[in-house]
């Protein structure tokens, strides 16, 4: 009796595994990338910068950070991702900055251009600068999951709370998705 049931259970497990494996063709090692390991990806085109990335990640600070696509940056003197709207004097005082943690470094390059660099150790991923840059600038500041920081939770706590469904599981081989890099992918 016990042996029969054990055999049936083995058969059931094999059947289930077979169904999962053959669903999209046989995933021989490396051939079917979809069956390989996955990571979480944030699609900046769907992102609405609601600010939940900063508070919902299981890590403190969040593994989502602002990522700067320098190739898209206009090097504006009045950067709408850096300065608060209505800033009168373009000075780097905290009262003028959009970033709550001063994670963006603004340096003079040549008249009238300024370079903006994100300090990832400070950035909390709130997306305030991303929103500012997207509204009036080129949209070179974008939120991305930084994979050396991400724990790759089975159930990403940001993905669960993302109002725009901008998070998805993607193959490990193609982890980043950024505007301004050819076919929008890294």
């Amino acid at each position: 009796m016990r042996t029969t049931i054990r055999g049936t259970l083995f058969g059931g497990l094999a059947l289930m595994a077979g169904d999962l494996l053959f669903k999209e063709g046989l995933p021989l090692f490396g051939k079917n990338t979809k069956a390989g390991p996955t990571v979480w990806q944030l699609d900046p085109a769907k992102c609405i910068q609601c600010g939940r990335c900063a508070i919902n990640c299981v890590k403190t600070p969040s593994a989502v950070k602002c990522t700067h696509a320098y190739s898209m940056c206009g090097y504006c003197k009045l950067c709408s991702g850096y300065f608060k709207p209505g800033t009168k004097t373009l000075e780097t005082g905290a009262e003028n900055k959009l970033c709550p943690v001063s994670a963006i470094k603004r340096t003079f390059v040549e008249d009238p251009f300024y370079e903006y660099i994100i300090d990832e150790t400070l950035c909390i991923g709130c997306g305030k600068c991303v929103k500012g840059c997207g509204a009036f600038g080129n949209g070179s500041l974008q939120l991305q999951v930084r994979h050396h920081l991400c724990d790759n939770c089975n159930d990403c706590s940001i993905a669960r709370n993302c109002p725009a469904e901008a998070f998805s599981r993607v193959p490990l081989t193609d982890p980043y998705l950024l505007k301004g890099f050819g076919k929008e992918k890294i």
Binding site: R2, I5, K23, I48, C50, V58, G74, N152
Partner: protein, 421 residues
């Protein structure tokens, strides 16, 4: 003249709003004269693929070692040290992801959803412990699962809580498993991961509520050993089923039981079945009648469960974010623009027509109705079988481990004075 003005206006407006929608380069990239070199955007890579396969290899190794220690070597000390290693590796080093318990949801999602393919490594994490349990009993619980290991460490003063309490608390995992499968199959939520109590400890980071939950479990675990494993763990349900029919299983005594009763109070998990004397014929008859009565009760309980399931399916569907969004949109006229929710903003900017979302949600609610009925029936069945099982007292001469609930921790082995010749 007026028309021309209008055309210009329309052209101007479209020119103004088109870039906003498509994010066209508003400010061209400057041509620097000072020889400035633009920095390169950094893309740090995730953990390499081979490391995931290393996790699978470590799982295979530890579970093989655990089975050998439990079945062949009969060493509590070995099991203890191995469980410490598993706690360090799967818990603190791998930070609890991916684990076999959570893999239930990935497997369910892959079985029910067309566009989710389960990574092979995750499938292995789900299958390997089940296969080993079918062969050797719950050795995974004994020394491989980091959840079990952390709770086993604090079980200082375990007390026995009795068959009835054990049986009733033991039904919670079925409820948890049923809900987890329901929510995963409808692509709603991964509740096992969401309410994972120990991952916050492994990561030394987590929400306040989950820390409190973990603290309560560990404190309770001092007196009621391994409360998560016995009264919450949904994977434990599957292991329980597998273990009942396992090929080999840990035994208390290596040879013949001498009825010394030394192991009687030692099992922290109430998983030792005591000897049962044969009942006298009169009470035996009474007992059979009771079992038949309960057997008739089971179908009634299943039907009651199905009915309850169809009553609560709308509440359960409310957990789904899309269902919630539609319910919000339908009550939306009452919301003011200024306190608009990000969900509604995101939905409006996505350009998906509301009808499409509504029809999608109708489908989800139908799935929930079907799923809730099955879930309710399943819980009714479990309830009925547990109840009738409580009245079943099979004849037994020796002290033996209960295959279903025994976690193969091997504590009792050290208390058995019998030596194999």
């Amino acid at each position: 003249m007026k028309l021309k003005r209008l055309v210009i206006l329309v052209l101007f407006m479209s020119g103004l709003f088109l870039p906003a929608a498509m994010s066209i380069q508003r400010f061209p990239k400057p041509e620097f004269e000072s020889g400035y070199v633009e920095p390169v955007t950094q893309f740090p890579l995730p953990r390499g693929e081979f490391l995931i396969w290393m996790d699978v290899a470590v799982l295979l190794l530890t579970i093989s070692l655990a089975s050998w220690l439990v079945i062949k070597k009969r060493s509590r000390l070995g099991v203890f040290w191995l469980s410490l290693f598993s706690l360090a590796y799967f818990g603190f080093y791998r930070q609890g992801c991916v684990c076999s318990i959570g893999a239930i949801q990935n497997v369910t999602l892959a079985l029910f959803s067309g566009n989710f393919t389960i990574p092979l490594a995750v499938l292995f994490f789900f299958l390997i412990p089940l296969i080993f349990t079918l062969l050797f009993g719950r050795t995974f619980c004994a020394a491989v699962c980091p959840f079990g290991a952390i709770q086993d460490l604090v079980a200082f003063k375990p007390m026995q809580i009795g068959a009835w309490l054990n049986a009733f608390l033991g039904m919670i995992p079925y409820l948890y498993l049923g809900l987890a499968v329901l929510f995963a199959a409808t692509t709603t939520d991964f509740i096992i991961c969401r309410y994972d109590p120990f991952v916050g400890i492994f990561r030394l980071n987590g929400s306040f509520g989950m820390f409190i939950f973990a603290g309560v479990l560990l404190l309770a675990g001092v007196f009621i050993a391994r409360p998560y494993c016995r009264f919450l763990c949904p994977y434990g349900v599957l292991l329980n089923w597998m273990s009942r029919f396992s090929w080999k299983h840990m035994t208390i005594t290596p040879a013949e039981c001498v009825q010394c009763r030394l192991c009687e109070n030692i099992c922290p998990y109430d998983a030792i079945d005591f000897p049962q004397t044969k009942k006298d014929p009169a009470s035996h008859r009474k007992q059979i009648n009771r079992v038949i009565l309960l057997g008739l009760l089971v179908p009634v309980l299943v039907l009651a469960g199905v009915w309850t399931g169809s009553q609560i399916h709308r509440t359960l569907a409310g957990v789904n974010s899309k269902v919630r969004l539609v319910r919000l949109l339908q009550t939306e006229p009452m919301l003011k623009d200024k306190d608009e929710l990000p969900e509604i903003t995101a939905f409006r900017s996505s350009g998906v027509p509301q009808e499409q979302l509504v029809s999608e949600v109708d489908g989800i609610e139908k799935d929930f109705l079907k799923g809730s009925r099955i879930f309710g029936g399943f819980i009714g069945l479990v309830f009925g079988l547990t109840l009738s099982g409580l009245f079943r007292t099979p004849y037994r001469t020796d002290y033996v481990t209960n295959r279903a609930t025994c976690l193969s921790c091997s504590r009792c082995v050290d208390y058995c004075p019998v030596i194999k010749k």
